[in-house]
Amino acid sequence: MSLSSSSLLSIENLAFERDDSRLFDGINLTVNGGDILQIEGANGSGKTTLLRLLTGALQPSAGRINYQGQPISENRYDYLADMLYIGHQPAVKLNLTAEENLRWMVASAAKSNRVAVADALAEVGLAGYSDIPCYTLSAGQHRRVALARLLISEARLWYLDEPFTAIDKQGVSLLQSCLQHHVAQGGLVVLSTHQDLALNNVRKYNLLSRAEYLV
């Protein structure tokens, strides 16, 4: 307890089972401000499940997750307010424009800077697209709308599930520099991706071998 209380996020002995079949167990991890943790593992190994456990959307069958030394179930609201999660499905409404989508996400979800919406859209390359409905966007542009949240988010904990999907090379490097900036300011990133990151200081955790190593 005293050990984990010093770290921002700590996972103790986490296990998850669905309908009596165990997906993983005995996961122990501590992540601090300034860390980028990349969850690795083959398709179906449970990366998404682990991230959703972290968000509190799923309940672990054993073990627990501590935020600032306290179980997240005990200071749930602080934890959620400090968290930003972008999953496989980017939560972009097809009938709304990019700007409306972003504005709404900012209003409803985590701590964010409300003024910078238009700037953020411009930065992810959607400057000319802010007033057309999102269903006319291409696959990558669609994901970029969601990723623009990162540019205005003030949350400390970022959980990103395969954020590089459908993003072109220029976008990937933009996103990586954004992550770098976030951790430089004391934030924390847990992400899953099958691509290798061009960032230093990334810690990798392999779900299958349950081994952690530094890149």
Partner: protein
């Protein structure tokens, strides 16, 4: 300490394995008692009770109709309470009871409706009227059907249990409202042309076998519920070691028996 020991029985009761093994011990006794009571009631009601002055022998359907109606209603509350216990104490056994109770209740409701309809033809001259009690019985059937449909629809057992429990609970809040409103609606719209003989001053000779039948139906309900729950336990826990051992033991006794036979 005292409190703790108080809770251990509760959690033991919640263990499917404990339930399976103990219910196995009571089952033979329960089935014998059920059989005796039901047989007594049936023979008494069908053969010995006097025929009705107006309806003749067709009234004897009451010995099925009334107990089935009683249990159909009581069964909903049993199901809903089981669901609530599951939601509150996260008890798996309780969800299994809930799931098992739904089809039994639905069948009993259907029997009540069917026997009522069959009885209606000779007494009222029609199979169906929009009487308050009949209508609310039909709605009860829908409520059962909803819980069952949710159980089948979900692939995940966990989600199915919770969804079913929530629906059952919402239904419990609604059942009194539904009954009240249907009752009220019926009395509002039309004068009672035909009414169920309400709490009839029945002849004791007719009434006593009815009481026996009601008791028999309660026992029968309990028996079927336990059997269904046991099946459900085996199905859900088929991957646990104790069910595997049980199956293996069955297999060996069977093969031994077969070998003994063939020799």
């Amino acid at each position: 300490m005292n409190l703790f020991s108080d809770w251990t029985w509760f959690h033991r009761l919640g263990s499917p394995r404990w339930f399976y093994q103990n219910s196995g011990r009571w089952l033979p006794w329960l089935s014998v008692v059920t059989l005796v009571v039901l047989a007594t009631g049936l023979v008494w009601g069908l053969a010995f009770a006097p025929a009705d002055a107006k309806q003749g022998n067709s009234f004897r359907i009451i010995y099925i109709h009334v107990p089935a109606s009683f249990l159909a209603l009581a069964g909903y509350y049993i199901m809903a309470i089981a669901g609530a216990v599951g939601l509150i104490w996260k008890m798996k056994l309780s969800y299994m009871v809930m799931k098992s109770a739904a089809p039994i209740g639905a069948v009993l409701t259907f029997i009540a409706l069917f026997t009522g309809a069959v009885w209606g033809k000779p007494t009222w001259g029609t199979y169906w009227v929009w009487d308050a009690r009949i209508t609310s019985m039909l709605i009860l059937l829908f409520l059962y059907a909803g819980v069952m449909a949710l159980q089948y629809a979900y692939h995940s057992v966990d989600a199915a249990s919770k969804a079913g429990a929530i629906l059952a609970l919402v239904g419990t809040v609604n059942i009194p409202i539904i009954y009240k409103s249907v009752d009220w609606w019926y009395t509002l719209h039309q004068p009672a042309t035909i009414k169920l003989t309400s709490a009839p001053s029945m002849h004791p000779d007719m009434f006593q076998p009815l009481l026996v039948m009601i008791a028999g139906f309660y026992l029968f309900y309990a028996l079927v519920l336990i059997l269904q729950t046991r099946n459900e336990i085996l199905r859900r826990e088929r991957n646990t070691s104790w069910v595997r051992e049980l199956a293996a033991a069955k297999m060996t006794t069977n093969t031994i028996a077969n070998e003994a036979k063939s020799e």
